[in-house]
């Protein structure tokens, strides 16, 4: 069982190191198309060699992946077809052809569409190399290859991902880089067939990288975080899949989706955290307004009376009560029963003077900045 986990872990790592570049260059769906159409490469190669374990299958599949990318890029470039549309034509055709070839000619060979598409990591340990599962060894080699590519071409890759025009001006050969990246993606996808299947490779390629892009602002950290997300989703997917005795590959990709949702909700600038921050800021502003109002009308029973202040601030009584409770708790104001008004305590006074002097200025600047960045 440990070996199965190792295979999945290695697969997810090899995918996750390339992922950020695919996500940043908006190639996620290209990778999806690629992962479908390599199936045709496997089938065609199998027709020639008639051996499922031959390395030619691997090479044929990787070549077909590249061919898909090349055809899509050419069609999109020269034939006024949008890239999405080009993808939408080419990969279903390749995939259809592969499915037909398999179901018509290889019914009895061990080339089952189900296995190729959905993978079955549980079978991985049975084919061995150097006393280790073969998929693990191949995946390890690919991980090292991918890592070497990323480290070697880090700078040009970074510039191309964020500003392709500048990269071309600078003399970076973006074409070579693109096809280098695609070759590696293709190779990784083909290898991952064994363990996670064609459809779910895409999850390993995109989900951890997209999460990592959300929480980091530096590409170096994005890569590292992407690796961590990949590890967490594959380990969790493996554990749950094992526990409930269900498809491990399916579980991993579902966990990938859940992880993304959680990150979107809870990371520093995430949806939920943003909401909490907003409501905190709103409360702060209300409290300050209250204090300023009390400061400006000392002893005026009409303006800051215990029961009348809410009319002057034009707030609902529920809201006013809440704010007053907070202020009393902070010991910023007190209720003066005899005069029937609110009075500032030293702490409250300090806050108001601070507000008058500079804090409000800074705060409004900060609020403005938040407003700009959120809209």
């Amino acid at each position: 069982m440990m070996e199965v986990l190792l295979v999945i872990l290695m697969t997810s790592l090899a995918c996750a190191i390339l992922g950020p570049f695919l996500v940043l260059q908006k190639l996620s769906m290209t990778a999806d198309a690629l992962s479908h159409s390599v199936l045709l490469g496997i089938v065609v190669a199998f027709m020639y060699v008639q051996d499922l374990n031959s390395p030619w299958l691997f090479i044929g599949a990787a070549l077909f992946g590249l061919l898909t990318v090349y055809v899509v890029e050419t069609v999109a470039d020269k034939y006024q077809v949008k890239k999405d549309d080009a993808l939408g034509i080419i990969f279903p055709m390749f995939f259809s052809l592969a499915v037909i070839l398999i179901s018509r000619f290889f019914r009895n060979a061990h080339l089952d569409v189900d296995i190729v598409l959905m993978g079955n990591p549980l079978f991985a340990p049975f084919i061995r190399l150097f006393d280790l599962p073969r998929s693990f060894v191949v995946m390890l080699i690919l991980f090292i290859l991918n890592l070497a590519f990323v480290l070697l071409f880090y700078q040009p890759l970074k510039i191309t991902s964020f500003d392709p025009k500048y990269a071309r001006l600078k003399g970076i050969k973006t074409g070579y880089l693109f096809y280098g990246l695609m070759t590696l993606t293709s190779l990784t996808t083909v290898t991952a067939f064994d363990s996670v299947g064609a459809i779910l490779v895409i999850s390993f390629l995109v989900a951890p990288a997209a999460c990592a892009c959300l929480v980091t602002k530096d590409l170096k950290y994005t890569l590292i975080v992407s690796l961590f997300f990949a590890m967490s989703s594959s380990i969790l997917g493996f554990a749950l899949g094992n526990l409930w005795n269900v498809s491990i590959a399916g579980m991993c990709s579902f966990i990938g989706l859940l992880q993304c949702i959680l990150v979107i909700l809870f990371h520093k600038n995430g949806w939920l955290s943003e909401k909490i921050k907003r409501s905190k800021q709103r409360k702060e502003v209300y409290r300050d307004l209250f204090l300023m109002h009390v400061y400006h009308h000392p002893g005026n029973q009409e303006e800051i009376g215990l029961n009348t202040i809410q009319n002057h601030l034009n707030w609902s009584s529920k809201q006013t009560k809440k704010i007053i409770q907070d202020l009393l708790k902070f010991d910023w104001i007190v209720e003066n029963e005899t005069l029937n008004v609110y009075e500032l305590r030293p702490k409250g006074l300090k806050r108001v003077t601070l507000l008058m002097e500079n804090l409000y200025d800074q705060q409004s600047r900060r609020l403005f900045k938040n407003y700009i960045s959120s809209s």
Partner: protein, 288 residues
Amino acid sequence: MLAVLTSYDFLVVAFGTTVLAMVSAVVGCFSVYKGQSLVGDAIGHATFPGIVLTFMLFQTRNPLLLTIGAALSAGLAYEVIQAFVRHSKIQFDAALAIVLSGFFGLGLVLKSYIQGHPSYVNASQAGLKNYIFGLAAFMMKKDVVLIFIVAGVCSLILFLFYKELVLSVFDASYGESIGISSKLVDRILLIMTIALIAVGIKSVGAILISSFLIIPCICAHQHSHRLKNVLMIASGTAGFSAFLGTFLSSLYRGLSTGPTIILVMGTLTFLSMIFGKNSALQKRRSLV
């Protein structure tokens, strides 16, 4: 060979796929021109967990129930994609890829769960696999009736709201200014897409159904740039391909219906790219 053409079973299946393809092509044209061609792909994949879950809950393969399940899970997937794009910095295509694989993964999990589970032994689950690749031969009259109803309603909507659809796809702001809510039109288009996908997966399969929406439009676009002509050509091509594909697949063993139809469509599209009046190749030739 001709015996196939007149056999009742073939006619039922061919009728179903042809009608489905013709209407899907028209709806697909609108979503392609809106620049949303790959949404269909994600929605198609996302129907799978809905189907398995419905089967688990009701232990039946009633096509209506399964279709509703498929449509609900597709709708949920679309909402998740939208939420991703709206509430985070994740790009649209990355969101598509994540949701597509996540939902399909959930489908695989559920399917493997019922495979090993004793309480589902009685209810036959053998047919569920067909929803991934589609097998039109298993289509029954009930399925065809369902396709016919959905296609009929969609055609009616297309016919009645043609002007609104065209406006909101090509010039949404002008549409808004004369009081056509582009949000509402988008919603209607989305519901039609989901409904067509949900009834179509049994014959074409969850993975390939999106091509029914995209390919005919691209094909027709090579011949004309007038929307009415494009819609007609797309619909005609799709119908013809569906009929021919179904015919071939019932003639030869092992040709799955969905893939065969798509191969026919794709071949026609490539021919159109070379010989079509408006194809870029022809334009280039005229420039030289």
